[in-house]
Each structure stands twice: as C-alpha cells, then as structure tokens.
C-alpha cells in the first residue's frame, strides 16, 4: 500500500510563494505551519507578520494574521496577547525589522516576559528593498549600501540581538538555528516546537533566530548560499541554544 508521507501542511494555504528561488522564508513558513498543526493550536493562533520579504506571510498562513508596522510586531503581539492570554501569538520578523527599526519593541517585550513566540529570520541583509546592509550583515559582506563590504569603523559590527535578549530576565527560551541543510531544518522544527510549547506553558518570551539563505541578494547559487551559512554566517552567529529557562 502506498501512503502519502509528505504534503502541504494544513495551516499553509495553497498559494504559490512570492519568494525568490531557494529562499529560506518559505521553508520556515512550512515548519511553523507544521508545528502549529502538530501542537493542535491552529484554531487559536494569531500571527503578526513584519514589513520586509515576509510582509505577505498572511497570504500563506491559514491562521488569523494581523499586520504590524515595520519593526512593531512585538508591540502589536503584546497588545493581542494581553487581551487574549489563552491564545497563541507569534510574530514573524526579519533581521532589519527586529534588530534595527524594531530593537526597542523587541527588547522590551522580552524584558516584560511577554508570553509570545518570536520567529526571527536572519538572512544578513534587507531582502525586500534590494539587499542593503542589515544590522546582521557580516563584516566584509558586500551589500548595495556597503559596496566595498561592511566596515566595522564606518558601519559598526553585526549585532547579535539574540544574545542581547538573553540578558533580559523575561526571556525564557532563545535558540539560533538555520534552514540551510536537512539536519538544520529538522533542528529548526524542534526549536520552533519548543518555543511554542514554552508559550503554551506560559513560561515567557521565546524566540528562535533562524539563519536563512538569500541567494538573490548574496548573488550566489542556492546551493552556495546554503553552504555560506555553514562556512561564514555561523562563524559570527553560531547555532546554539542561547537561553533556556525551562531546564
């Protein structure tokens, strides 16, 4: 007997993704949708997408979704969660959204221990606007606003937001993973499951930072972009559990 062993998850609408070929966003979308399904929380989950490449996330997730202004997802999620504490609230944000324009909202939501789950996609550039320098752009990395490569003296060094958030007392679980290989994709799904479970248990702020390939703006083949995460990006942003208050 032949069985269907892999198909589109229930909470992912059957809409073609607008993302570029080889983009990590839609892998992460799928993992989040799978986790929502497996945890049985699809009918009580509310998502808050960002401004950036994932701005259209509401066209894909088949759960309630409410738009936030650029960088403000954690504040919007705070408002939703405080009114509906029994629902599951997640934000989905890129590195520019969360670690530049939305730094204050993110740090203070973590510090208040808002019981929300933040999915932080780090592709080390502003993707939607055409590949400008992001707060996470690596030193030496070329972007449209650092044509000679990011220079520490002029541009500052890449910021490790997850590490900063780990210093807040309200952050319960923070892990950095990647979606550049099968092994890392499986780990990412485990991390997302853990993060949502932390919220379901009411333990506090959970965040999964996911290193994601951006072949278009990195000007690389999709396979090389995945390799770059292992060889370069993880040197600055190592994959690990950064904070675990559940242990």
């Amino acid at each position: 007997m032949e069985k269907l062993v892999f198909t589109r998850p229930r909470y992912m609408k059957k809409a073609p993704f607008h993302y570029c070929p080889g983009c990590g966003h839609s892998i992460i979308h799928r993992l989040v949708a799978e986790v929502i399904d497996e945890l049985g929380i699809g009918d009580k989950t509310i998502g808050v997408p960002p401004a950036g490449c994932a701005v259209l996330a509401y066209d894909y997730f088949d759960v309630d979704m409410g738009e936030a202004p650029h960088g403000r997802a954690a504040a919007v999620a705070t408002g939703i969660k405080r009114i509906l504490p029994d629902k599951i609230v997640f934000t989905y944000q890129g590195d520019g959204d969360i670690a530049a324009i939305g730094t204050a909202e993110t740090i203070h939501s973590a510090n208040r221990g808002e019981n929300i789950t933040v999915i932080f996609v780090n592709n080390s550039c502003y993707g939607m606007t055409g590949g400008q320098m992001a707060p996470t752009t690596l030193l030496g990395q070329k972007s449209t606003t650092t044509p000679g490569g990011r220079n520490k003296d002029r541009d500052g060094a890449p910021i490790d937001l997850s590490q900063m958030l780990a210093l807040t007392q309200g952050a319960a679980y923070i892990e950095r993973t990647a979606v550049n290989s099968i092994k890392n994709i499986i780990k990412t799904k485990k991390a997302l499951t853990k993060a949502f479970k932390v919220q379901m248990a009411g333990i506090g702020f959970s965040l999964i930072e996911i290193l994601s390939p951006c072949p278009t703006n990195w000007k690389m083949s999709t396979v090389d972009a995945c390799r770059r995460i292992d060889e370069e990006v993880t040197q600055t942003f190592p994959l690990k559990v950064i904070k675990d208050e559940t242990a």
Partner: protein
C-alpha cells in the same frame, strides 16, 4: 443619576474611558498628561480583564493599542504633542487597518520640545490626519470637565461604530483643572455590538487577515474610496457645534476647547460694553461643523477666530464660509493663555474697526 464629583481633567478622561469599556491602556510619560497613565495604572489593576502597560516608547504604546484593538478590546493611549507626533505612524495604520482606538492629546506648546503650557498648536496635525496617507481622524474637542467625560464616552462609541481612530484633543489646562463632573454609567461590555472582524483564533470559521498592504493599485484605490465613503458618512452624521449668545450677534467668535472658555469670558465682558457678540464652539474638529458656520453667515458678516496658536482652524472656517463673511483672527501661541479681558479688548477693537456698532 450619578453623583457630582470634583475631579481633575486627566482623571475624568481615565474614569470615563473605563466606564466606556476601555480595557487596555498603553502609554509613555510626558507632561502635561502624566496623571492619566498614573490613574490608568491603578484603575486597570483593580479591574478584571484590565491591562495597563507603561510602554518603552510612544511608538510601542500605539502599536500595543493596535494589537489590543485587533483582539477586540476597547483600547486607548494618551500623550502630549511631541509624543503624538511619534504615534502618527500607528494612527495611520489604525485608519488603514480600520481599527477602533482612542488617542488623547493633551496639547502643549510647540513646535519641537516647546513647553508644557496649554496650547492648540496641534490642530493641523490632528484634523489633517497627521500621519502618512489619505485618511482622516475623528477629532473631539472638550471644553470643560463634563465634556471630557461625555466626549470620552462618545470617542469609544464612534471608534467602534466607524472602525476608525478617534482623537480627544485637550490641552494642559483641561488636563490639570479640577471641575465638577457627573460621570456616565458604566457600559455593559456584553451589550456592545459584536465585532465580526477581530483576530481571536480561527475557531469554527475561516482565518482572518487584518492588513493595509495592497500592492494592486486598483485594489488600493478601492480601499481609499471605501475609507472616503466612510469619512463622508461620518461628516454627515457627527459634526457638532455649540453656540452662546449668537441670537442677535453681529460678531461671532469661533473657538474650541480652552480658547472657547476664555472666549465666553471675553464675550460676557463685551456684552457688558453693549457689543453684540456671540460664540460658536466646534465640538467636533473633524468633521468640522461647516454647515453650522455657513448657516450663521446668513446673519453674521464678521467672524473672529480665536485660537491658542498662530491660526490653524481659521483655514477650516474660511473653507466653510467660502467667502460669505469676513474672517478675522486673534491668537496667542507658545503656551500663552489669554485672559477674558484681553479677548474683550480684541473683540471691541475689531467691533469698532468693522463699524458694527454704528450699523447695530
């Protein structure tokens, strides 16, 4: 009927908001409105299902209000002029996302950091939308303690009815002054009309999206026209103005909020001098009570706009009159509060200059 209480303006807004069903307040400290978040922190704590958050910024506060509104709560934030500038991004989103919310601006002197004295310098910002894009904000201008209570209640009602942000435009004077007030009865939250658009998890229904990004230009145009139809409806339904001694007036002062109270004093003194002067006080600044002013122009040929700024509402008065009458201006910006005597002088000087005594 509820008891008459002596209350500070900021507290009246807070108490009236809670009685109107406000269950979410987020704000950031700024003078001269700190008494309002301070009051809300205590009041929400003692209220079941009430949330108070001291936000990390004005921007975070308005965005928390966006979230709470999405989740179905009656939500409010407050600030003063520079803080309201910071909230404009969120107010534009509230308008675009068609979310109800109440924003209180206890105006102070500006521009920039300005000072903490009462001013009306934010009229343009409030009535023109303030943030980016083609939208309007309902703006209510209370002039005394009782109206702070009544208009706060109305603000929540309008916000829900029209799914749009409503601003209460007060000033440092209104916020600080203690006056007798009869508070309205608390609303029963269960009797409020249902909100079939809230995000509360797609249980037993299709999932919902609240969004303002409409990349398709025709779709965006349609969204703008839809908002415009709503604004037209609001313009038909809620403009309000109050008149005082206008029956035989040859000169009518147009003023709102604190300026209107000063104007009343000035008008009383002018009447004692035998001048036929009245007051028209817009209660809604947007929609502006154009019709009331236009109708008055059939009998009155001279209007004096009095504002605590260098002349902002005067534009709306001129637009309402479309050249039918003379429009004069008297104003003091920067937080200077005119006295009724000063205004009486301004009125009488104008009265004689326009030769109104002779004709009368």
């Amino acid at each position: 009927m509820n008891k008459k209480l002596l209350m500070r303006g900021s507290q009246v807004i807070g108490e009236a908001a809670i009685r109107a069903g406000c269950r979410f307040y987020a704000g950031y400290p700024i003078t001269p409105q700190n008494e309002l978040p301070e009051f809300m922190s205590g009041a929400m704590a003692s209220l079941e299902g009430g949330t108070f958050i001291q936000a990390e910024s004005e921007i975070a506060a308005i965005n928390m209000v966006i979230g709470a509104s999405m989740a179905g709560a009656r939500a409010m934030t407050s600030s003063s002029s520079p803080g309201i500038s910071l909230k404009q991004e969120g107010i534009s989103f509230l308008a675009a996302l068609e979310l109800p919310a109440v924003i209180v601006n206890v105006m102070r002197g500006g521009p920039g950091l300005g000072n903490i004295a009462p001013s009306q310098g934010d009229y343009f910002q409030a009535t023109r939308g303030g943030g980016h894009g083609d939208y309007r904000t309902i703006v209510l201008a209370p002039a005394h303690g009782q109206e702070l209570a009544d208009l706060t209640e109305k603000a929540f009602e309008y916000a829900d009815r029209y799914r749009t942000p409503v601003m209460i435009l007060a000033d440092g004077m209104m916020g600080q002054m203690m006056e007798p007030v009869i508070l309205p009865d608390p609303v029963n939250l269960d009797t409020l009309p249902p909100k079939p658009w809230v995000l509360d998890g797609a249980q037993g229904r299709p999932s919902r999206i609240i969004r303002s990004l409409i990349l398709d230009t025709v779709g965006m145009e349609e969204h703008n026209w839809k908002l415009e139809r709503k604004y037209k409806m609001i313009s038909d339904e809620i403009p309000r103005a109050e008149t005082y001694m206008t029956e035989d007036a040859r000169l009518v002062v147009i003023a709102y909020g604190t300026a209107a109270r000063i104007a009343r004093g000035g008008i009383k003194r002018a009447r004692e001098m035998g001048l036929k002067v009245g007051l028209l006080r817009p209660v809604t600044l947007w929609p502006f009570p154009e019709r009331a002013i236009r109708e008055m122009s059939r009998l009155v040929k001279d209007f004096m706009v009095f504002e605590m700024n260098t002349g902002q509402m005067i534009d709306d008065v001129k637009l309402s009159l479309e050249g039918r009458s003379n429009v004069h201006f008297y104003g003091r910006p920067g937080g200077v509060v005119s006295t009724p005597d000063e205004l009486a002088k301004a009125i009488s000087s104008l009265y004689y200059r326009q030769n109104l005594k002779k004709e009368g």
